[in-house]
Symmetry: C2
Subunit: 461 residues, 2 copies
């Protein structure tokens, strides 16, 4: 049997090929007079390959009538295509119907809504839109690793199951093997010491705390793994399960942290422009007009920096009416963030040094003792895309902040140990991988950039 070649490779051919084999799924069939055309796609690239079926084929009657979604193996001759929009087509000499598809196939050739496609998440990767989304997801995941590995960062896979309930980022799912109907009791309460891990455990909301441990051994590290939020929020930007990238760098202050964030985002945008051109063209035409120009702008943009205090002043002086008032000491709302990056700075901007009361206990106290060395990176159309901080490396200051927020030292003794012996300044940030993908593709719902999204009421597939 002849080895198959991917359609991506085939379409990059520089010359005609006498006999070659491709395999894939039918996107459409068009039957003309004495000829039929099949668009065959194997997922290796956006484009489908046009197959020419001649009535001379032994099984012409069958294969010229296959339905959308059928699986074919085709041997044929690759020739220059007279049709516009494609360089090559394949004149079939042998067609095998590997797997048929009838008219019940849920992904018929017509426009489907994104909502409908979510209900067939097992089939939507075979559509143009989701083929492009998941090819870009794969390419960008690799780009994340490439960026850090080329710079000598160590990849650490931090734990998914955790006994920490103070990671500071949100509500947690409980993980247990106790019999839920009759859990063991002690003193009238559930006895978690009888559970699998001997204590109460949940799904991680962030790998940062463990990432910090590794940064004080390997200097520069990053995590890239799933994180979880048990929050009952049905928005287009929240999922219960998503992937996060969290670099942590030793001997770094907030400004080094911002530089890393800038370099990282710019690298990913350029990587997408250079490696995902065909898929980006599709998004640019069909999903977000001007997407490519937006990305090209970001690739060469100056990244500005403004303190939270200055940002509040700028917003208050802007004369803009906001739904939520702008007031020092309160978190910036999405509308404020968008106004800053889109109207005031017209480009990416780091907002730094937030009031301590609205930020997590581990962020480093500034000399004013009112603000902490936090930073958020805001970009047009999305708002916050990166959030990070310099960490509190001073033992006494950290325990003070933990006491303020009611966190028991015993619960984080290992985290404190890093400040006890050989402490050093360090900083890091988090980038939600799905937020990045939404920015790069123009897709507006997080459910449409995750293979099988988990949201309240939804754990199908």
């Amino acid at each position: 049997m002849m080895d198959k070649i991917s359609i991506k490779q085939l379409l990059q051919s520089r010359e005609e090929i006498d006999s070659i084999c491709v395999k894939g799924w039918v996107r459409s069939v068009r039957r003309g007079k004495g000829v039929a055309f099949v668009a065959l796609n194997d997922g290796s690239c956006f484009a489908s390959l046009q197959i020419i079926l001649d009535p001379g084929l032994e099984n012409y009657e069958t294969v010229s009538k296959v339905g959308t979604g059928a699986c074919l193996s085709v041997v044929g001759k690759l020739v220059a295509s007279p049709a516009s929009g494609q360089d090559w087509e394949l004149v079939a000499t042998e067609v095998i119907l590997v797997g048929d598809a009838d008219e019940d196939y849920p992904l018929q050739k017509k426009r489907h809504t994104l909502e409908y496609l979510r209900t067939i998440a097992h089939l939507r990767p075979r559509s143009n839109t989701f083929g492009a989304v998941f090819r870009m997801r794969s390419a960008l995941a690799f780009a994340v690793h490439k960026f850090f590995q080329e710079r000598g960062f160590l990849y650490v896979q931090t734990p998914i199951i955790t006994a920490n309930d103070c990671e500071g980022a949100g509500e947690m799912f409980r993980v247990s093997t106790l019999d839920p109907s009759t859990p063991p009791q002690k003193d009238g309460r559930i006895d978690w010491s009888a559970d699998f891990f001997g204590e109460r455990t949940g799904l991680t909301v962030s790998g940062q705390l463990q990432g910090e441990l590794f940064a004080t051994a390997f200097s520069d590290i990053y995590t890239f793994g799933p994180t979880f939020r048990a929050e009952n929020s049905n928005t287009s930007r929240h999922a219960a399960e998503f992937w996060m990238i969290e670099p942590e760098i030793a001997f770094a202050d907030l400004s080094a942290n911002c530089r890393l964030g800038e370099d990282f985002l710019r690298y990913l945008v350029i990587y997408a422009l250079e490696n995902c051109q065909e898929d980006l063209d599709f998004f640019n035409q069909r999903v977000e007009k001007g997407l490519i120009a937006k990305l090209e702008d970001l690739a060469k943009a100056e990244f500005r920096t403004v303190s939270y205090t200055e940002a509040v002043e700028l917003l208050q002086k802007s004369g803009q009416k906001f739904e939520f008032p702008v007031e020092w000491g309160h978190d910036l709302q999405s509308e404020h963030e968008r106004f800053l990056t889109e109207k005031i700075f017209s480009g990416p901007v780091f907002v730094t040094d937030y009031p301590k009361q609205i930020k997590a206990f581990y962020m480093r106290m500034n000399e004013d003792e009112k603000t902490v060395a936090a930073m958020d990176l805001l970009v047009p159309r999305v708002g916050e895309i990166i959030g990070g901080s310099q960490r509190e490396e001073r033992y006494d200051m950290l325990t003070l902040r933990m006491a303020d927020q009611g966190i028991a030292e015993d619960d984080l003794s290992w985290y404190l140990d890093i400040r006890r012996w050989g402490t050093c300044p360090h900083a890091g940030f988090g980038l939600g991988f799905e937020r990045l993908l939404m920015y790069l593709t123009g897709m507006e719902n997080i459910r449409d950039v995750i293979p099988f999204p988990r949201t309240p009421g939804h754990a199908q597939f």
Copy 2:
């Protein structure tokens, strides 16, 4: 302030450097007459940098007495070292004690047992052994992505939270947000429809089923993510949370699957030999004598293939006394697998076509209707390192097998849909990332190749 350079880069210098800054943690201090020596490590490589402290330094009295584990920032001149075993040393002109460490530091310079080091998993990355382990873990994770991306495979991040209880690989952890003390009831039983996802959910044991969905859209895909087993087994080879790599290839049979497994393992071994030399030297000397020779052998070994039926005959005829009898229809025990790969074949060997009753429902039925197209790759010293199969792509055969094993069609309707429309032959396998690391490093306990291992009774850090 001068930018720091990593010790890895510094040690690759081709010439003396007048003034350069390094930062790291003290591995040891030795005080001589009128001079002190500090071994400084920053995790960028195995080797520490020797720092020469001269009494002329302003803070000589302090810095020449720092404890193991202290954090230093050093500016100095890089000069050729007269000492053996190192090309370069740094003559300090300025030393800053960034973070002190007293004699309570739990990682003093002496030999510690691996058991003790597990109790300080937050500090053990600063030891020689675990520095090497986690550098290799990072390098090999990247190699996994590199292998597949270079071959046009799409990376898919399959879900961690799942409502499937038939993934076929083991006991599951339950994931819930219901109040565990007073869960809502319906008809005298817990009402899972009131839970976060509207049904009973757990942590995935494998991404294979979802991987198959993606393979029938993108042809060649792989997963690389955490998987879970809620099994109360306290062995050196089992953890409750571990990372797994699962490629899935469309239009492939069992022999193509074996070829991919062979190429993949060989690639990873060669990648380690070429990119982790310094760390491998350490393991070769201190952890597993002959490790490098073992890996070099594997890199050029012929991978043999034997059917399960033949393997059983070979074992029975061998005259070897086994603890467990060898009998057709029973799973091969570890002792049988080791004997096959170490004594009979003296190298890597695929065992194929196992009895259907000991394998999962999704494996493709062979023509004999007694065996399925499964394969395990066995390697010396470890036994099974890869397990996979061709998948049952025939709708009727698959539903028959599901009925045999008591799996309701409704629970896997989406999995069946792939066979309903455009079905195609496909195959794949799983490689436990930690098993691979144990093989590559010689470390004998899975707890020692995972940053923060999760096992029964243990979810610390």
